[in-house]
């Protein structure tokens, strides 16, 4: 029963995924990967300088 429910749910999910393609910000996984490669260059320009020093000095007080 559980297996059958899950199958039905997956079918609905697949159908929804097909329908939703146009709404998604990017089309395929391949396109996303390409975009990420482009993004790395942009991210380089906003990354904090001196990674090692920054990471070393980033100490927080414990909280909840």
């Amino acid at each position: 029963m559980a297996e059958q429910q899950r199958k039905q749910r997956k079918q609905r999910s697949d159908k929804r995924a097909d329908e939703a393609v146009e709404d998604e910000p990017t089309g395929s996984t391949g396109e996303i990967t390409e975009k990420i490669d482009d993004l790395l260059d942009e991210i380089d320009s906003v990354l904090e300088e001196n990674a090692e020093e920054f990471v070393k000095n980033y100490v927080q007080k414990g909280g909840q």
Partner: protein, 495 residues
């Protein structure tokens, strides 16, 4: 609706990481106070009232533990905003407690609004800092060095459900939901075995199954029993095990699945609990396996993966919701929850447009591939931290979202509005609108009351013990028609 169930009013509270680069005498308490005071403007004079607060009350019925009182009455910056939120300093961190929200979609929106509140506050402080000093605020839960700070979820539940039943179901649910609630972290902490990357920011810090503590020996199920509402009818389940999340879809599903799980539990629709043999160890073991294949032992024999236990709970919650007639928002929770589990099962990275941990992992792998970085390279830890920076020009989550690789739930305009205006269907509406309309006359506010100075001998206290009263439908016209706070108090019949 089953008479045993209560409407799932909910909200979040987040402690933010804070640092000022190049400030030699940086003091996190002082910096946090500056952030809170810089933001609040006219409402900064309105104090939070601690009357009625009792964080030491234990849901198991043990009464009070006085030691817990020390963590709230600090005399530090502590105020209330026009959107109904509380904004204050807690444990050397700026903390934003969202207003009470009517449903998970609204709660996710006001959680995002908190990021904007912090970003605005940081800009205000930054403008007054000397050249070279830079204030950074992170919506994360760990500094990577063994110090953790919280992102809590609060949900109203019925007092009728025995606390032991809540615990039995929650342990397995909370231990396994991190596959879709985690924000991702480079490395391990708190004495846990080394790993290059793990799913959750918080998992390494949980050491008990059940308890009252929140700052050490953290329990999976927290027993703080402080409903901020009629204690005869309600509990406020205080969930401390979650990660602070930046993805809008993830925040929505995190809150929605919890609320729907609790509604099903209140109706007895979850069946027998699935008991893990060792919930505490399961939490970090699941977090330490981004392949999601690790199976954890069950009490009484056998094993189960986190995904399989989440499928079981999703099926039970979906069946309950369908029988009860769920609205569109709750159907959307089920759809998103289901598609995330489906995609995680096929390929975890296929959820990188919806989940913080997979979005972060994809980014880290991208850098590792391009620059040939080993997992110990400080640049990867920097990427991990900066993913959570709340300033959109710097935050890597925001850079991904701006590039269109993260699915959005809200528009920027909706988030801006939620940072200023309260939810309309809870008492947060009354709180927020009074502060916007009569900032000079509100002396203090807290979750369940407001105190006005209307120029008479005594202050006027308006109690708000019912979270669903005080919304626009009940008080909107009264507030709009009142010329002064005195008019309003009189119209409400307050003493």
């Amino acid at each position: 609706m089953n008479p045993g169930r209560v409407h799932k009013v909910l909200g979040t509270e987040t402690e933010f990481g804070i640092t000022i680069r190049n400030q030699p005498d940086f003091n996190p308490v002082l910096a946090s106070s500056r952030v809170v005071n810089a933001y609040a403007g006219t409402s900064s004079r309105i104090e939070w009232s601690f009357e009625d607060e009792a964080p030491g009350r234990d849901a198991r019925g043990f009464g009070y533990e006085p030691s817990a009182a020390a963590d709230f009455d600090t005399g530090l910056a502590n105020t209330v905003l026009t959107n109904g939120a509380r904004f204050y300093v807690d444990h050397a961190h700026p903390e934003y407690s969202s207003p009470e929200c009517y449903d998970p979609l609204e709660a996710a929106l006001y959680d995002k609004a908190g990021e904007l509140v912090l970003a605005r506050a940081a800009r205000a402080v930054q403008a007054a800092l000397p050249d070279g000093e830079r204030l950074l605020i992170h919506k994360n839960n760990s500094d990577g060095k063994g110090n953790s700070y919280g992102a809590h979820e609060n949900v109203l539940v019925s007092r009728r459900v025995p606390f032991g039943d809540l615990v039995a179901h929650l342990l397995g649910f909370l231990a396994t939901r991190q596959v879709f609630t985690g924000s991702g972290k480079v490395g391990a902490e708190n004495g846990r075995p080394r790993v290059p990357f793990q799913i959750s920011q918080r998992a390494d810090f949980f050491e008990e199954e059940v308890g009252l503590e929140t700052t050490l020996k953290r329990p999976i199920v927290n027993t703080r029993d402080e409903p901020h509402a009629d204690p005869g009818s309600y509990r406020r389940l205080h969930v401390i095990i979650g990660d602070a999340t930046r993805s809008e879809v993830q925040t929505f599903v995190k809150l929605g699945s919890l609320a729907m799980f609790l509604a099903a539990l209140e109706d007895g629709a979850l069946g027998d609990p699935v008991l893990l043999a060792d919930p505490v160890e399961s939490v970090w073991r699941i977090s330490h396996d981004p392949s999601l294949r690790h199976a954890v032992p069950l009490d009484g024999g056998g094993t189960i993966t986190a995904l399989d236990l989440q499928w079981r709970y999703l099926e039970a919650v979906a069946a309950h919701a369908e029988a009860e007639g769920a609205d569109d928002i709750h159907r959307r929770v089920l759809d998103d929850w289901e598609s995330i589990l489906t995609d995680l099962e096929a390929d975890p990275l296929s959820t990188a447009d919806r989940l913080d941990w997979t979005a972060k992992l994809r980014l880290l792998e991208g850098y590792r591939d391009r620059d040939g970085l080993g997992w110990k390279d400080p640049k990867l830890r920097l990427l991990d931290l900066q993913y959570h920076d709340v300033e959109p020009a710097r935050g890597l989550y925001d850079r991904l979202a701006a590039a269109g690789t993260m699915r959005r739930v809200f528009t920027d305009d909706e988030i801006e509005r939620a940072a200023d205006e309260p939810p309309e269907r809870t008492r947060a509406y009354f709180r927020g609108r009074c502060i916007a309309r009569f900032p000079g006359d509100v002396v203090a506010a807290n979750w369940d009351s407001m105190i006005f100075d209307v120029g008479e001998d005594s202050l006027k206290r308006v109690p708000m013990m019912e979270p669903l009263r005080g919304g626009k439908d009940r008080v909107g016209d009264l507030i709009a028609a009142a010329g002064t706070a005195a008019d309003l108090v009189k119209a409400l019949g307050g003493d």
